[in-house]
Symmetry: C2
Subunit: 173 residues, 2 copies
């Protein structure tokens, strides 16, 4: 059964950023593709640390997950779902061996953050982003937002951790 | 030539923490061993992110380097030497593969922060810690300071990066 295409456009201002969300039919079967026009949140580089990670393979990066005050408070209080206004930032940098560190340690073991790769955000607005679990998704390469098509898979990929309000990252003690 | 043993005891109060430093002869040749009695700085887990790293080998950890406001400002302004009052915190967690993330990515590539291992600090006081480049060193395991003997090597190991005021970590963009 083909669904009828629809479009929802929402606008909100949040913590120095402005985000639009629209749902437009993009697939042959009429499935809606979410479009999140999230602007780069001001001051995110100053946010508190949630955790860190390393991705091998084609990503080959070191990453840090930061949160604005609303998000970090919810993480620390283990409060689910995350309240509206929560923003999670995932920063990532190239995974680079450090010869300098290796010399100091006396062995080849040290990897540090190189150039930045991209920054991703999850912005919580349970009404505006109801169709995608209450979260809007965004990615910036060199400060520029990626096209909507690149964000199509975000929500689906996060569904396995729906019980933790769609957040893979756990708070590092 | 044997040096004459000496002891310097200094006390300062800083950002919610109190630190003592003493220099006592601990080696057969009379070389002084610095003793840094640095208390755990309040609120360090809220500090801003400087960078991240991964250490392989016996350390086998993921780490984040945070700084208090004085230190982060100096990093961002590339100000050397770091002003007195700067504190650098190195947090570390066990390097743990994430089956959950791997499933989402469809490949074995994801490593996340597990249990905390230890936290290390560098505290800048150019007078109190003049004998060790202006920095006092500390490490806490489960919130408890390690013995002075464990900190003997800190300064010597950081000498190769004296040109960057003894800090290996570079600010991640």
């Amino acid at each position: 059964m083909r669904q009828i295409g629809y479009m929802v456009v929402a606008l909100f201002a949040l913590a120095g950023g402005v985000a639009y969300m629209s749902l437009v039919p993009a697939h042959a079967d009429g499935t809606a593709t979410p479009v999140f026009d999230v602007k780069l949140p001001a001051g995110y580089r100053d946010w508190k640390l949630i955790s860190v990670a390393h991705e091998e393979g084609s990503l080959n990066d070191l990453r840090a997950v930061l949160g604005n005050d609303i998000a970090v408070k919810a993480y620390r209080e283990r409060k689910l779902p995350f309240p509206d206004g929560s923003i999670i930032a995932r920063l990532a940098w190239k995974y680079v061996p450090s010869e300098e560190n290796n010399k100091a340690f006396g062995r080849e073991q040290s990897f540090v953050a190189g150039d930045a790769t991209n920054v991703q955000f999850m912005v919580k607005d349970s009404k505006k982003y109801a169709a995608t679990g209450g979260w809007g998704y965004a990615q910036f390469n060199d400060g520029k937002p990626v096209e909507a098509a690149a964000l199509v898979g975000c929500y689906g990929c996060h569904i396995p951790v729906k019980d933790r309000d769609f957040l893979f990252t756990r708070y590092a003690p």
